[in-house]
Symmetry: C2
Subunit: 465 residues, 2 copies
Amino acid sequence: MKKRLALLDSGWLTMETPETPMHVGGLMLYKTPDNAPETFMQDMLAWMMNVREVARPFNKKLSGVLPMNLDAGWVEDHDIDMDYHIRHAALPRPGRIRELLALVSRLHAQRMDRAHPLWEAYLIEGIEGNRFGLFVKIHHSLVDGVAAMRLLQNRLALNGRDRLPPPWSAEWEELEALQAGEKRPRRRGPSLGESFKAMGNVALNLAKLAATPKESHVKSIYKAPSTVLNKRVRPARRFAAQSWSLSRLKDVAKQYDATLNDVVLAMCGGALREYLLGYATLPEHSLVANVPVSIRSNDQANEGGNAISAVQVTLGTHIKSAAKRLEAIQESMNDAKARLGAMNRVEIDTHTVLTSLPLLAGQVSGLDGRLPVLFNVVVSNVPGPREARYLNGAQLLANYPASLIWHGYAMNITVQSYCDNLDFGVIACRESAPKVQRMLDFLEAALADLEQSAMAKGTRHRKSA
Amino acid sequence: MKKRLALLDSGWLTMETPETPMHVGGLMLYKTPDNAPETFMQDMLAWMMNVREVARPFNKKLSGVLPMNLDAGWVEDHDIDMDYHIRHAALPRPGRIRELLALVSRLHAQRMDRAHPLWEAYLIEGIEGNRFGLFVKIHHSLVDGVAAMRLLQNRLALNGRDRLPPPWSAEWEELEALQAGEKRPRRRGPSLGESFKAMGNVALNLAKLAATPKESHVKSIYKAPSTVLNKRVRPARRFAAQSWSLSRLKDVAKQYDATLNDVVLAMCGGALREYLLGYATLPEHSLVANVPVSIRSNDQANEGGNAISAVQVTLGTHIKSAAKRLEAIQESMNDAKARLGAMNRVEIDTHTVLTSLPLLAGQVSGLDGRLPVLFNVVVSNVPGPREARYLNGAQLLANYPASLIWHGYAMNITVQSYCDNLDFGVIACRESAPKVQRMLDFLEAALADLEQSAMAKGTRHRKSA
């Protein structure tokens, strides 16, 4: 049975070009158990392949013959070639994180073949320190990227003894159906009337935004400066990834009465300032980040539901002082949240569509990277599990997100929490954003700057007390 | 300075689709020297990267912005990012040829980015038996595939002591200019009148071909049966490669009074018969191979020049007896050569264009794989060096060609001689031609069949003598 493509799914497929594959990736770093036999990697590979039936959405395959996917729909593939989807790879010596990131950069750049379900998993051996990797690519049309990676994560074991099916095994569907118990009520879609009314309110808000004085840190969505990050992209990618201790960031957040997300944005702002100073041109006005947020709207307060939208906030890249940069980010973020919080659910949805529309139009028309940008960089902060997870006996050490980029938006920073760490994944166009691996040093320097400023502030506080 | 694209170069670019990348590859297998230090692979990589200026054609980059490459031309890239072109890779354990072929299959499937000079080299470590690999991809528009691979081979050292520049170093241009000494005279292009006259002769020949009785092994170019090898292809590839001893093939050739190339074709015919019997359907009529040949035309006998064309010959796949299959191939090949040999240079060129035209048209129109095919499979036999070659101290063990395939022509077998071996490289679409790795067993079985038949024949000869 063929199921018609949802409009948004179809969008991800239509927007895809050789330069802008529309899949997201996740690089999971695992510890090889101490008592692992010689055949551990071979056994792991065999376990990953040994799946009788593949779970949704990993069994969804495109069907259709017309161009632009006009007649496309999803069909379930009951005869999946696991040898195609599960691939065994290795690092050249010395097998450092450097070699790992070089390999993942190349793997992430490759577009997937639409004749197969749109996912691939690479088991990577030869990482120094008795570790191995699992890099998974999932097309955004299959399921939204965050949801897909969460699915993989949720299907890991909570200890090293449990032997569960691979995350893409259909056995999980039965297991989860048993766990889920009662069904959640479906959300009612907005009526056409509600949608039009909401568009009016959103338009009013956008007009207010445009009227905001320039010197404010409250950023309009149409005032992002032009930078090297906002050019057309080429197919090659560079992936940089590193973990930071959550407690370091929480300490800084406490000192400044900021949220963890504010500190993440301040690290990104500080790092991007250094990056642009060193490898390109730092614009006079601050870079603007597009930040996906999970918010509760007015009319949902009692329902307990959450909505996902995005806000555009300053990164304070024009500010030299780390402390003042963080303050500017806090102000900008609070304002954006307040504005979104005042909207109802339908208004939020419309806002989300309106602020994304020029993006989609640009990508499809091929004009992206040649038009003024809405923002400079996506910075996404995704909560992850707080307790250790295990893949068939091997402990997950870190989980680095590798998101997608597109014309005009050549860098994406996605951050995910796991146990006591924040795992940063920076994906960028290898050409537009050169030497992006240096971002890791700059992120560390930005955090250290905030720590030093906080210490100095603390000292001042004590002096004045 | 921009140099306009030649029509044929442009063709290779226009014909390229995500399913049919138009590059050829070569997998070179090397022996790590016995006394190699721990850092041998790192040193090799550093040597490969350490190039001040890149030689033609490895520095040729496309320039142009219009679609279909309408305004495209070649420019020389004087600031090549070697880290982009030279890539370090490794095999997962146990590092058998099986793992090597799996990796090369994936690497060969990936289309190259036209913003860079269209070549990539992968240094592959971790091959069992103290070996390493070098897999090189070169776009067909850059230089014809055979010529490019020959260039790489000719720039290897003749012993393990010489330390020469990497094959893509511009230093080679000076070295070769010194070696070349006097220049060869340029061939005069045919006049328009000569071309038209030639077309008439060729048309007459084609008409004669079409009138050839069906039961003859002399194959018309329009009578290839439809097989699984002649469907549309997907992007994924499967590469299979193995070496056979030249003396084994020469012995067989001698027994049957055949050429080495006839024996290669008989191996392919026997293997394809088994392959189709096992994994698809064996057609009633024989498969037809397209075989590039180097021939001397009537009017060139005194000039000593050689022309390259292609002939279509039977593979005798409908014949069960190995000996009779070889006889059929000999008859078909001799006839095709005689026909080509009777043509003059201009006629040959026109014949080559005429027999390739429907191919190009099909690929461009997107109808390929949906039209009757001209032949079933390309079998190409390329002479290689007879003496051992060395890459910066490491001995070349084998050199497997990985050619290109396209819609309707899902398999290519290219064979290259090196020292005492014939190195077979079979590249095929992973989907249309499943389990192509089995071709290696079938090629061996076909050769063994010929050897047994020859032995039996020898016995009979002795008996009758």
